[in-house]
């Protein structure tokens, strides 16, 4: 019984804090494609401009559709709002070596980070990919979406413009 009370107390405390909690990027170290470690709090720095954090994998077809669709308009998005897209690959040791050749083959210009054991995925409570988060200029998570359908990138961009104050 003690355990139950403790859990109940814990949950009650959690719920009471949850109401005020703002979505922040947790601190996790990820690898860049250059093999350097980078702290998540560093990569969300974008001079006060919005940041999109997108979880994907080389084996996830809708993820690739989404990132290819955004790739066609990314130049324009960046010019208009200064937004930066960080593509976090959750490819595990089976396919992590395919990430860099795939990204190059597609000609993507995103910041690509590797999360081969799901550390940031767990820290952000991502269930499955694709999962997209939008961060405002202060690094707070203001919007998220767990799916991709053609046209979703336009809904995302409307949010980006909103966050960028346009």
């Amino acid at each position: 019984m003690t355990m139950r009370y403790l859990i109940a107390a814990g949950l009650a405390a959690l719920v009471s804090t949850a109401a005020l909690a703002q979505g922040r990027m947790p601190a996790v170290q990820l690898q860049t494609m250059e093999g350097k470690r980078t702290d998540t709090r560093a990569f969300v720095e974008n001079d006060g401009k919005p940041v999109i954090v997108n979880f994907w994998a080389t084996w996830c077809a809708p993820c690739k559709r989404e990132l290819n669709a955004i790739a066609e308009v990314y130049d324009q998005w960046q010019a208009e709002t200064g937004v930066k897209l960080v593509a976090v690959s959750i490819d595990d040791p089976r396919s992590v070596a395919r990430v860099a050749p795939y990204v190059n083959g597609q000609g993507w210009e995103y910041d690509v980070l590797l999360d081969p054991n799901g550390e940031l995925k767990r820290a952000l409570n991502v269930n499955n990919v694709p999962h997209t988060f939008l961060l405002d200029g202060k690094g707070d998570i203001v919007w998220q979406h767990n799916n991709y359908e053609p046209g979703d990138e336009k809904a995302l961009y409307r949010k980006v413009r909103e966050v960028a104050g346009q």
């Binding site: 003690t2 355990m3 403790l6 859990i7 107390a9 814990g10 405390a13 959690l14 719920v15 804090t17 949850a18 005020l20 909690a21 703002q22 979505g23 922040r24 947790p26 601190a27 494609m33 250059e34 093999g35 350097k36 470690r37 080389t58 084996w59 077809a61 595990d92 040791p93 089976r94 396919s95 992590v96 070596a97 395919r98 860099a100 050749p101 795939y102 990204v103 190059n104 083959g105 597609q106 000609g107 081969p116 054991n117 799901g118 550390e119 767990r122 952000l124 409570n125 991502v126 269930n127 499955n128 998220q144 979406h145 767990n146 799916n147 359908e149 053609p150 046209g151 979703d152 336009k154």
Partner: protein, 568 residues
Amino acid sequence: MRAAPFRLAAALLAAGATAIAPARAQQGAQVHGNFSTDAQYYNTDSAIGAVVPPQRFGANAWGNLIVTHGPFEAGLRFEAYNPPLAGYPAGLPYKGSGLGYRYAKFTKDGLEVTVGNFYEQFGQGLVLRSYEERYLGVDNAMDGFRLRYTPYRGVHLKGLVGLQRMSFDNGTVNGPGIVRAFDAEVSLAELLDSAWTSAHNIIIGGSFVSKYQEDRDPALVLPENVGAWAARLNYITPRWNLLAEYAHKINDPNGRNGFIYKPGQAATLSATYGTRGIGVMMGVHSFDNMFFQSDRAAPTPFDLNINFLPPLTKQHTYNLPATLYPYATQPNGEVAAQGEVFYSFKRGSPLGGKHGTKLAVNYAVAYGLDTLRLGAADDTTRRLGYRAGLFSPSERMYFQDINVELRKKVAPDWELALTYLNLVYDIDVVQGKPGKPTVYADMVILEGLHNFTDRNSVRFELQHLSTRQDLGNWATALAELTFSPHWFVAAMDQYNYVTFDETFLMDGKTEVKPERIHYPIGSVGYIKGGNRFQVNYGRQRAGIFCVGGVCRVVPAANGLSVSITSTF
């Protein structure tokens, strides 16, 4: 025994959360979590051999909560399997509901301390990878403590001691073996600031892992402490990435290798090249006697794995190639190679056309390991089992996959993709079905995507697989209507048929009349923000469901299934 540490975790979490509550306004405490469930109501359907559990309804559910407060973090996961979905999980059965995972963590001056459960990976995982693939039911979470320390920029040290999650019975059940492990890595580009390191990086790493399990065998003298080490070297330039890793395991007699005393070894090499518009990958690996489980008598190959040996093959995304004949690593012995090219034809070029064309070519092959069986000349050599060298393939081909994908936007609102695959699949070895003949299959897949408007689109797939072995031919048609950003509706039919004869040599032995079976299924999904709801109704073919490097066999089913995920 099990309840005590969980009580401790609950106390920790409760104390942490209560302490945070008053301070939240200044410190900005964070509480986040997620929920996910997969549930199914099962109908009987003798035509497809659908298994109906006595409860007729199965549901897996998980809920995570994470509290962070400055450098402090604590979390737990609640799990429920009352009962689990049919065929879930991959390894030992799960039942009941309770806490599956709990931890507390803090970071101070470059030292990160974790107590409770955690996941970890050294290098590519050849000697240690603790991870979770929830949808497969693979979870070998460690339970103990871990330290990660960065004494100097670019120098990364990790050490851990713990038990491993084995199954679930109203809470996590740990296995009997203890795992102790240490890893060190130096990244030159982080360590040194120079002109050379701004464009190049060399990463050197090494690990040592040891497991302990008591020897209670009345006949054999089994090693109670089994050590394994690994070394890795990675050279990275803006265009190239060369990676080599070697692992060695001392004698580890276990149920998977027939209790032989031979050491094990593994080697992987990969090279990738990339520049805008082109990417190339080549890799080879060789594994010999590399099952490394923290219980030498682990009941299934999915339980208590300390290491991770990924298959060197492309993980397909289309339904037929992904779920009928996927390859699984053979840790007892294999030699494999893979090469892949991604290329974008530029817009305006003859092959690129107006909107550009993308090409992907992949070749993967896996053979058994050439071994020399050691006879019964004396007890010592007999107990070693066999002799083998790395990278010396046997004549038996386990797997081969040649595939080409061409993807092209033919108009601003139309995209087409054409894929061809040729597959050789040793179903006897890979799926453990002795006596079944090797499957030779050809597949052609056409995918189309048309946007009606900015928000509405239709996507279709036509897939065909032809083979004279196993279950014969398959045809699949799928149509998906999407109404961005909230709704989708999809319908799929898979049709299993045999065209080549009046009767059909099923499993290479039994002569049967070919059955022609349809597997229709419909889905509706609603997505809003961090929530996602999906409902499916219909027949689900038996297949192999893979995430990352591991696969689970999903039995045939007929019924209504619901998936809900939520993140906050």
